[in-house]
């Protein structure tokens, strides 16, 4: 429920008078035509979990690889999968090419926002 | 209202004149598959002279002037072409009336023989329509109102094309929806065969649409075309897709295989001349019922002291399992050991083609044995010690 300004009058300062101090629009009062990519990137540190498991196994087998083949292959596959996905994204998603049906990353969004910019 | 009616029929007869003229001229490029199915007609005829002096817009006036100049130019070109054709017919002693385009080509290649590698670069004499690029017909009537709804996108044909593609894709998606609801699958054996085809390259598409396209627009075109082709019911709109697919040359049938000749002892043999690699040049003869003997410039395989070069000669023979069955004679000069070995290897591979079946030729091609190795020594540049090496940096 909005409190009327007159209530604060008793306690002191009067609100500015529009005519004396005209409102200046320092920062544009509208949304930008682009979306920032900071939120998307995040720290894409891959296979942290597998690396931890691998180190644990190596530690208790004194770094003899014969005993932790499973962890090693898991770690390798995870990294390989990560690199493939990154490469594939580089070709399609990061170029802004839209594949219908899944959500868009910031580059694809910007492509459309540029086509329908906010009215000035 | 009368004016409007009058204006309309001018436009109508203007259009049907343009249409029928457009049809006769047809699309200039022979391999371009696009027929005159577009909304805007592609023609070079100007508006008929019988247009009364109406309130003609400035744009139309300037267009008419340009169109008339173009007509004059084309008319003179046609005249000159006819006269030239008659002269040529007389020169060649043939009858001028029945002198077809093939006869002209033969006469020109006879009178002006040229060894240029590229056929397009050789002297030719073709009709003016083929030589001079087609110009767009009037895109607006004399009051200045454009015919095409997408005129103001500056590339009406191109965006019309994109519109058609999306329309086709939506049509196929609805069809797929209906088929799924009814639960039957797309017909497998009618599946569109895209392995041997490639989308029209950019400059080719520009010639078809008679409009200049930007790279990004061409990218959009190929993305949407690929999505259309990828849909399971693509074979339904096969006609539409075929118009934008260019057949790739089938690599395996590319070079015709020479027939082996018979030598005096009755053995089949093939000689491949001009086997080149780096600066080496070799002539290689392969004789079929042989014992695996190899002679290079009169010496046996020990002509090559480097083991890697001997291995190179072994590669094609072992690949086609002809090691003990074929005799090879090669005389090679110029170049170094690896250049000469590469030349002979290529020679042996090319000669073996006539002794092995088609499937082995294809696997030899996939192994890279039949491709000529163009790599040459990179030239030395001034200001550098060699092709790449720079002079040592001296402080003082």
């Amino acid at each position: 429920m909005r409190v009327p300004t007159a209530v604060y009058a008793a306690r002191g300062r009067q609100a500015q008078n529009e005519k004396d101090v005209p409102f200046q629009e320092i920062l544009p009062l509208r949304l930008k035509n682009t979306v920032s990519g900071k939120a998307d990137s995040g720290s894409d540190v891959a296979c942290l979990q597998e690396m931890g498991v691998l180190f644990a196994c190596l530690k208790d087998n004194e770094f003899v690889e014969k005993y932790c083949h499973k962890e090693i292959s898991q770690f390798k596959n995870c990294y390989k999968f990560y690199m493939d996905r990154k490469l594939e994204a580089k070709k399609t998603v990061n170029q802004g090419i839209v594949t219908p049906g899944n959500n868009l990353n910031y580059k694809q969004l910007n492509k459309y926002l540029r086509r329908f910019p906010n009215p000035v | 209202m009368a004016l409007r009616v009058f204006g309309l029929n001018i436009i109508k007869n203007n259009r049907n004149i343009l249409q029928n003229v457009g049809k006769t001229n047809g699309v200039p490029t022979n391999q371009g598959a696009a027929a005159a199915l577009y909304a805007t007609q592609v023609t070079v005829e100007a508006a008929p002279a019988a247009v009364q002096k109406q309130k003609v817009s400035k744009a139309m006036k300037s267009y008419l002037k340009r169109a008339n100049e173009h007509d004059e130019f084309m008319k003179t070109q046609h005249l000159e072409f006819q006269i030239g054709k008659r002269h040529l017919a007389n020169m060649m002693g043939a009858d001028a009336e029945t002198f077809t385009q093939e006869d002209i080509n033969e006469a020109i290649s006879y009178l002006f023989p040229s060894g240029l590698y590229d056929k397009k670069a050789r002297p030719t004499m073709r009709t003016p329509d083929e030589v001079f690029p087609a110009r767009k017909a009037a895109e607006f009537d004399e009051t200045g109102r454009p015919f095409h709804s997408m005129f103001y996108t500056a590339k009406p044909n191109f965006f019309q094309l994109l519109h058609d593609i999306v329309e086709e894709t939506n049509k196929l998606n609805d069809l797929e929806e209906r088929m799924l609801r009814r639960g039957n699958k797309p017909d497998e054996n009618q599946k569109l065969e895209t392995a041997g085809f490639q989308l029209l390259p950019k400059e080719h598409l520009e010639r078809v649409l008679v409009e200049q396209i930007a790279d990004i627009e061409y990218q959009n075109f190929s993305n949407s075309m690929e999505r259309l082709i990828a849909s399971p019911y693509a074979y339904k709109s096969k006609a539409f897709i075929e118009r934008f697919l260019k057949p790739l040359i089938d690599q395996s049938k590319q070079l015709e295989v020479p027939k082996p000749k018979i030598d005096e002892q009755g053995r089949q043999y093939i000689t491949t001349y001009e086997c080149l690699r780096k600066t080496a040049r070799a002539d290689v003869t392969v004789r079929l019922p042989g014992t695996g003997k190899i002679t290079i410039n009169g010496q046996d395989i020990s002509y090559f002291s480097v083991e890697q070069s001997k291995e190179q000669l072994l590669f094609p023979l072992h690949f086609c399992d002809m090691l003990g069955k074929v005799d090879v004679e090669a005389n090679v000069e110029g170049g170094g050991t690896s250049g000469q070995a590469g030349a002979i290897r290529w020679g042996i591979a090319m000669s073996l083609r006539s002794f092995v079946d088609q499937e082995m030729i294809e696997s030899m091609r996939l192994a890279g044995l039949l491709t000529r190795d163009y790599r040459r020594r990179e030239r030395k540049k001034f200001g550098q010690e060699g092709a790449r090496r720079k002079y040592t940096w001296k402080k003082r």
């Binding site: 894409d44 942290l48 690396m51 390989k80 | 041997g196 690599q251 072992h318 996939l366």
Partner: protein
Amino acid sequence: MSVYPQHFVDPIINKSLQKEKAHELSHIPIKPALNVSTDSIFYGELKQKFTNYILKEGNSALARELLTKTFEIIKRTQIERLHLAKGDKGSIITDAETLLINAIENTRPLLHLSAIKRGGVKYQVPIPLTEKKSYFLAMKWILEAAREKERKVSLPEKLAWEILDAACGQGRVVKRKDDLHRLCESNRAYAHYRWS
């Protein structure tokens, strides 16, 4: 192979591999085969790469000769062991190329440390290795170990000893790999600093 346009494809020497790709490559032109690659018994993918690492100043004939001598010494030692071995004669491999491959498999590292600057401080962060890089590191270490020798010992001899050691899991190169793994393990805490 910069002479060839973009759409040319690398050749495939192995016949079984060819069968899989035959259909899609039937319309695509193929680059020529290198003058090093053949399909004979003298050619091995890893062997060729190892020869290239031995190569100095473009003298590929010498590099190849050194590797042949190394294989010869490996074979001689293995055959002598074979004759001396009383019991299990089967376990001794006399094929030098398989021994080289085993040696490289045993010395391939999984991850490596790379310095990443975070807040003005350089941290040694363990990063996983791609397959190509791990093969390269294994071969480079073996060669480095072989080149740390006195003058009177020949390279093939020392290389042969290194390969034999590495193939059966001991020796300097395997130790170097384990040290790297230990170091990575000790820096485990900084793992999430990657690509800050």
